[in-house]
């Protein structure tokens, strides 16, 4: 069995929101990766757009490793290509991992991480990812109605469609009132 390449998946919950990493899928190519990503990560909560990028195109480092990249003599300069930078800024529990912070231009991914560490300093980041923009495949805004909207309409998949709390409360109150409980 071949498990096919792995693609990291990023989703956006709203038009303005940042893309956030939610996990990964295996697929033969990017078209299948986007479909699989929709099937696995598009059910809940609602999303408006998805990105996938081959795992091999992502360079990841923790804060210690990124710090070492900026040691004197190691920093590589040069204009290079555009890299998107994602970070994890908190140990708080969440469904999502690294979040889009911005972009830098650099000759390679490691240089991009080093530059990002110097650029995005407003909050401490525990994990850093750099992905070349050219490695990312995206859904279109046209795709919302066909790919993502149907999931939001299936209300029978929501816990809110089931009123077990009020059912139990009524039953318990009725039984303490001495009323016989049962279907007519």
């Amino acid at each position: 069995m071949s498990q096919w390449p792995r693609y990291e998946v990023f989703v956006k919950a709203s038009e303005r929101g940042p893309f956030r990493n939610v996990g990964s899928v295996h697929a033969v190519d990017t078209e299948m990766a986007l479909q699989n990503a929709r099937d696995v990560f598009g059910r809940r909560p609602p999303v408006v757009a998805m990105w996938v990028a081959p795992e091999s195109s992502i360079v990841s480092a923790n804060s210690e490793q990124v710090g070492a990249l900026n040691d004197p003599g190691r920093a590589k300069e040069g204009r290079g290509v555009k890299f998107l930078i994602f970070t994890k800024d908190s140990h708080r529990g969440s469904m999502t991992f690294v979040e889009e912070r911005g972009s830098v231009r650099a000759p390679d991914a490691l240089a991009a991480l080093a530059k990002a560490a110097r650029t995005f300093t407003s909050s401490p980041a525990y994990t850093w990812w750099a992905v070349a923009e050219s490695s990312i495949s995206s859904t279109d805004s046209d795709d919302i109605s066909s790919m993502f909207h149907p999931a939001a309409t299936k209300r029978y998949r929501s816990p809110r469609a089931y009123h077990t709390h009020s059912m139990m409360r009524q039953i318990i109150e009725a039984s303490t009132d001495g009323i016989e409980v049962g279907n007519e």
């Binding site: 078209e31 994890k88 469904m95 991992f97 029978y156 816990p159 077990t164």
Partner: protein
């Protein structure tokens, strides 16, 4: 494979991170044993989700009405997705999909015992939703605080979805318990079948659970098996009684002093029998998984052929 010497300093620093409540991510240093235990635990959790599609999946074609069918389809699809989140989490630790699935198919990896039992009536579907998914929520709510980032995130996402599973089941059980004599008898029969297998989902008693001690030290588990089991029993018993259903435990009693519903002895012989492969449907579950994999080969081949042809075609 190179020898890894784990210094006392490294282990102490790691433990300090755990104690500070920091999340460990895949780039971070971790003891070899932490990595291996998590791969085992997470992959077996993933296998449980996938195998867990089978007992209820059997009723999709026989659901009593369209709405029940839609709800059941959605639930079973969710379980497939949960398996995917968990396989992903195990992969961040270096496990591969091939290895994990091979171990399952060879009978070398475990999955939750509870899925080795049959579902002879429609009411079993309702009871699985309330009891089995309800028990999973108790366990997974705790695991959402686990120290390993990808596992914790998978648990948070799964917990959010599991609420629907439990409530759709509970709503049906309530309806049947308060329904016709036939419905009430059907659902009581299902409770009688699923009560003890559900309690066994929480694992061995604390006194015999060897993995738990290390897992608690490393912040993967934060409550013991017996604590979680007691939480679950305290939640379910009053609600079952309120709708006129009984629990198949002649020794069940309420202890005023602790406020706990105390249960009788769990039959651990049965647990070991089923875990080691001698349960009602162990063979059927595994052959269903192997068949799905083997019979699905043409789909994987077709997808590869399609992608190759696309790549070869002119822009």
């Amino acid at each position: 494979m190179s020898e890894r010497v784990e210094s006392k300093a490294q282990l102490a620093a790691f433990q300090a991170r755990i104690d500070r409540g920091e999340r460990i991510e895949s780039d971070d240093w971790m003891p070899d044993k932490y990595r291996k235990q998590l791969i085992r635990m997470i992959s077996q959790h993933a296998h449980s989700e996938i195998v867990g599609m089978l007992p209820e999946g059997a009723w999709i074609t026989r659901a009593p009405n369209l709405r029940r069918k839609l709800v059941l389809l959605a639930k079973v699809q969710d379980e497939a997705g949960h398996g995917q989140y968990l396989y992903h989490a195990a992969e961040t630790l270096g496990a591969t999909r091939e290895e994990m699935v091979e171990l399952l198919h060879e009978g070398k990896a475990k999955y939750a015992n509870v899925f080795n039992y049959p579902t002879p009536s429609w009411a079993d579907v309702s009871v699985i939703g309330w009891l089995v998914d309800g028990a999973a929520i108790v366990n997974q709510t705790m695991l959402a605080k686990a120290s390993y980032g990808p596992y914790s995130r998978a648990m948070v996402r799964i917990c959010a979805e599991e609420g629907f599973h439990k409530k759709q089941g509970q709503e049906m059980v309530i309806q049947y318990a308060l329904g016709t004599p036939f419905q009430k008898e059907m659902v009581q029969g299902a409770i009688d079948r699923w009560w003890w297998p559900t309690l066994m989902m929480f694992g061995l008693p604390d006194s015999e659970s060897h993995h738990s001690v290390q897992l608690m030290k490393w912040g993967v588990k934060t409550k013991s098996n017996d604590e979680l089991r007691q939480d679950f029993v305290n939640e379910l018993v009053p609600e079952l009684h309120a709708i006129g259903l009984s629990v198949p435990d002649p020794d069940l009693r309420f202890d005023e002093a602790s406020g706990n519903w105390l249960i009788g002895e769990i039959d651990w012989d049965e647990f070991w029998r089923v875990v080691s492969g001698d349960g009602p449907l162990n063979k059927e579950r595994l052959s269903a998984r192997r068949a799905a994999h083997d019979d699905g080969l043409w789909v994987r081949d077709a997808l590869e052929a399609y992608a190759a042809r696309k790549e070869g075609s002119p822009a």
